[in-house]
């Protein structure tokens, strides 16, 4: 039984389609990244999975229960985008309340806050916190009571690189323990190495749902080869390779992945004319743009 399964989920706001026939499954222990531009429908999809927003049509099961039911909510943790708390409460008071709401001992509040690096400020009012600190309180509450599904809406925004690394380390451990994780992001480059599957959403449609390797294969974007020619040989090199020139000495050519070895053989055959060469595979951002642009003809 998958932790989350959606099929045919559509949602419109005042005639504007936010989600169109979205299908998605997440298995236990899987880390799934949800990617898309602003307004692509990421937050809407998350709110529907949480049961905060009813879909116009479609089926959703979360932890083998209807989305938003008491049974589903008992096993689901949520970190909203730009998470907020009452400014008059301290992090310790806020986390104690959340622990009680999940039937856990409030004594865990201090260790939880220590786990996200907030020990020193735990007694201060959240109103005095920076965005990154609030984000950590948000993460701390999402870790309460071994959730079986974590829904994290842009969880690393406002976190510095070190905190981000710590954050993903915590997620890895949760996934190893069997939690399913759905997290949204703007940048494929950030989540590529830390998730098992990538779902790209554009204008409410799922444009891709695959592993990074699968996305690379399907996008079939060309590999770029940059050749630094010897002085005065750039024109000859460019001519023989039927490639374009970039400046005085650089020659650039694009080739499909499967032609790469042949092209490199062509180039090394002219070794005497060449200073250096660089093989640049399609970047993660190129792959992301490839899929997210298909919906914008």
């Amino acid at each position: 039984m998958p932790t989350v399964s959606l099929s045919g989920v559509s949602k419109s706001f005042a005639g504007q389609e936010a989600l169109h026939e979205v299908a998605l499954t997440i298995e236990a222990g899987q880390r799934v990244a949800l990617l898309g531009h602003n307004g692509a429908g990421k937050s809407t999809l998350m709110k529907i999975i949480l049961g905060l927003l009813p879909p116009d049509s479609g089926d959703i099961r979360v932890l083998d229960a209807p989305a938003g039911s008491a049974a589903a909510r008992a096993g689901v943790a949520y970190l909203p985008e730009n998470v907020a708390f009452h400014p008059a409460l301290s992090a310790l008071e806020q986390i104690r309340l959340y622990l009680r709401l999940r039937g856990q001992s409030p004594d865990q509040a201090a260790p939880l806050l220590a786990r996200v690096g907030l020990s020193d400020a735990a007694g201060r009012r959240i109103g005095t916190y920076s965005k990154g600190m609030r984000q950590r309180v948000g993460l701390a509450q999402a870790l309460i009571g071994r959730p079986r599904l974590l829904v994290l809406d842009e969880p690393t925004s406002g976190l510095d690189p070190v905190s981000r690394h710590d954050f993903y380390t915590i997620l890895d451990r949760l996934a190893l323990e069997g939690a399913a994780i759905l997290l949204s992001s703007h940048a494929l480059s950030e989540v590529a190495a830390r998730t098992d599957r990538i779902v790209i959403l554009s204008r409410g449609r799922v444009m891709a749902d695959d592993t990074l390797a699968g996305l690379r294969r399907r996008a079939a974007l060309p590999t770029r080869i940059q050749i630094a020619a010897r002085p005065d040989t750039a024109d000859r090199v460019a001519g023989r390779l039927a490639a374009g020139r970039r400046n005085g000495v650089m020659v650039e050519l694009d080739c499909a992945g499967e032609d790469k070895i042949d092209r490199l053989a062509d180039i090394t055959a002219m070794a005497a004319l060449i200073d250096d060469l660089e093989v640049i595979p399609p970047s993660l951002d190129d792959i992301y743009n490839h899929f997210s642009r298909r919906a914008h003809p």
Binding site: L50, A70, R73, A74, P80, L97
Partner: protein, 273 residues
């Protein structure tokens, strides 16, 4: 349901930090002491102790102040959470909307009870200190206390409903003041104008009482004046206390809190965080 207590305690803590508790208590105590001092003046009504006179004045005060304070505490309850962005996270927890709303009601009603107890209590102390027969007015004061709590619960519910419908704290505040003006001030003026225009016709004889009972603030006034037999001390609409049985007024003020809460819950269920 076991989530109610921690949620309510958190609400109380927030109200303490926001100085709401201090403001409401100070208001109640100051007004009550002022009226108790005024109640010590000779009334000209024979056979009534000074505390009973003070209770009559406090009833008139509570009709205005309790709904106002309740609406001021209630209007932010849902709209404020939507505005701050805290509602979505709260609703992702295994807590029902009814529980959440009940916890807020419990906290706000507790604060109101504390303020009323301190306010009315200080009035009672003044009464006992100056009049040996003031014990006679104690039952009326207790009745005023718990019926004022019912009135407060009713307007807290209306405040939550306004908060859920308005969706944002700004419009909710405006709407709350509007509801207070209509139910507490304009309603009686319109009724009195209608009675005058009717000149002893069917409206005055048949409908007037029902209109009074339908308004929780008027029912509260009728109940307290009618039950204490202090109608002689009442003025304006309160004078009708002589003709409407207090039990009917009690039924009205006992039903209103439930109706208001159910209304608020229905509106809250439509709120999308």
């Amino acid at each position: 349901m076991k989530a109610i207590l921690p949620l309510a305690m958190s609400e109380v803590r927030i109200a303490l930090r926001n100085r709401w508790v201090a403001i409401i208590i100070a208001t109640m105590v100051l007004f009550s002491l002022a009226l108790a001092a005024a109640g010590n003046a000779p009334t000209g009504v024979a056979g009534i102790d000074r505390l009973s006179v003070t209770v009559a004045s406090l009833t008139g005060l509570a009709v205005y102040l309790v709904p106002l304070v309740a609406l001021l505490m209630g209007f932010d309850a849902i709209a404020g959470e939507v505005e701050r962005g805290t509602l979505g996270l709260m609703l992702s927890y295994p807590v029902s909307r009814a529980t959440l709303l009940l916890a807020k009601l419990m906290a706000h009603l507790g604060i109101l009870a504390l303020a009323l107890a301190l306010g009315f209590g200080s009035a009672a102390i003044v009464g006992f200190a100056t009049d040996a027969s003031a014990l006679a007015g104690l039952s009326a004061l207790l009745r005023l206390f718990w019926s004022a709590l019912l009135l407060g619960a009713c307007f807290l519910g209306l405040g939550y409903g306004i908060s859920a419908i308005a969706g944002r704290p700004g419009p909710a505040a405006g709407l709350a003041i509007g509801v207070w003006l209509v139910l507490i001030v304009l309603y009686d003026l319109v009724l009195l104008a209608a009675v005058v225009a009717d000149d002893g016709g069917r409206f005055t004889s048949d409908l007037f009482s029902w209109f009074l009972l339908a308004n929780p603030a008027d029912a509260f006034r009728l109940f307290n004046f009618g039950a204490s037999g202090a109608a002689a001390l009442a003025s304006g609409v309160g004078g009708a206390a002589g003709v409407i049985p207090p039990l009917w007024a009690l039924i009205s003020i006992a039903l209103w809190p439930f109706a208001a809460f159910l209304l608020a819950l229905a509106a809250f269920r439509k709120v999308v965080p």
